[in-house]
Symmetry: C2
Subunit: 327 residues, 2 copies
Amino acid sequence: MRVLITGGNGFIGRKLAMALLHTGAVPVDHGPPRPIERMTLFDSVPSEDLPPDPRVEVVTGDITDRSAVERVAAQADLVWHLAAVVSAGAEADFDLGYRVNVDGTRGLLDALRATGRRPRVVFASSLAVYGGEMPEVITDGFHATPQSSYGTQKAIGELLTADYSRKGFIDGRSLRLPTIVVRPGRPNKAASTFASSIIREPLAGEEAVCPVAPETAIYILSPRRVVEALLRAMTLPESAWGMHRTLQLAGITVTVGAMVEALARVAGEAVTDRIRWQPDPAIERIVETWPVRAEARRARSMGFTDDGSFEAILQAHIEDELGGRRA
Amino acid sequence: MRVLITGGNGFIGRKLAMALLHTGAVPVDHGPPRPIERMTLFDSVPSEDLPPDPRVEVVTGDITDRSAVERVAAQADLVWHLAAVVSAGAEADFDLGYRVNVDGTRGLLDALRATGRRPRVVFASSLAVYGGEMPEVITDGFHATPQSSYGTQKAIGELLTADYSRKGFIDGRSLRLPTIVVRPGRPNKAASTFASSIIREPLAGEEAVCPVAPETAIYILSPRRVVEALLRAMTLPESAWGMHRTLQLAGITVTVGAMVEALARVAGEAVTDRIRWQPDPAIERIVETWPVRAEARRARSMGFTDDGSFEAILQAHIEDELGGRRA
């Protein structure tokens, strides 16, 4: 199989690539694992410190560059489309967001369609497609009425993925990802970045600012489970999706206060004392518009799972990012 | 006020234009009627037989022609965006559908945004945004999972209209129209065209073919009510829309058999004998995927109404299109 990962140098793209290289094969349609012959990591940012691997090809380019996209799409059997301008970025630069998140996605789908080989595509969408007036629990049939350009662009990407699939140009599947916690690396411009910072930085011996109140609830999934979900979405047979190509993933609902309490239990109060509680009304206003609970009945019936508890998310972070050490 | 109607030579565009010219003013935000100084009818097809009116400017052009669209958008205060490739057309020519229904809509919104004048926009969407597994009654919060390219493109148009509004570039409102019955004129390529043909042609002394079984139910609205709804959507204040810019209109649910029975009561069986029942599995398959009932609670609360009965729709057709005469 020839694999293409757009946004292959993002933190999820890299984790996914490492997982694929590690197993070396993909059990498509529950069949025997099929070996990965080639893996193209396409990203606007040059990839850093990837272990050398003869199967890996790193291509630095822009998802809006049609000829670059056509080149990397030409041979792909399995495509994970993760490249995107993130939420705050798409809100700050309207045209850039549409160019990358909408035109980039459509250009990729058109390039894949042009191959005539009907590649399989997993598109990373987001619970940012929800917004406005919402019930306490989002059900699978609830409408997407995004209140951000990012959410709008992701909703459009889902619609395109579904229509290109229905027409037989690709075999696409879209996953609405919960907020990913704990993200490794540095804070980014997403309004949700604090949700990882308040765990990651104190564990690394650094201060972190929490801009929302402890009772603020969020809907989260660990990087581990996200990678598992991206793999599962690719390997499930087409018949599992039926007429609906978009899936809200299951996550867990947790308050920021409960997250910090769990951190104190695992790492001690000396660690959680590094969190400064400093409300930021602008961030609070954005976070308040996010759904905090989804039923995700369909995802669960298709075998997608959540982390069970925030302690498990914390433990996974300590194992995967800190080599098991707590600061 | 300066009015722009795209698709201004379509049958709804023409009816809307005539209604606006007749009243000569628009009561924006429930305020005093504000006179129409100029009305631009933009369409790819040259307008026929419009009564001469110094306020009317007819522009023949393509909605995908950016400079033409910029010209007609430059001065517009109120825009009805009706131009579209219809359902069967968008299904038959994938690229044309996306070019006109998606790129055309986005180009128009960008041109309106560029004016910096925040024009008000009513976008004609469709219940074709629904599809796949559906409950018996579509509620206002039910998700749009279109099973046609046309429905996909309309759903994208709604998302764009909402996001451009949220950003303050326009003041947009999208209406999901039921199937419009009785359409005047000739049959077109829409799969729904029979729903008008089986009434219109027999009344005109011609034969019509009904490709679906009498028990087939459809969700319909008369041209009269559609024009009323397009006007109401424009005149309601922005506050009436809140965070949700898309509205499923109320229609009535009627079986094809009941429509024909009503026609027999009004016009006699000599008229309904002109209908040939000749099932077409391809048409039946498409029609079966359409929702047949919507709650439309929000639309009703905002003053949008249905026709009450099919007899009323029939009566309106006879009055409006046949000068009150029955064949």
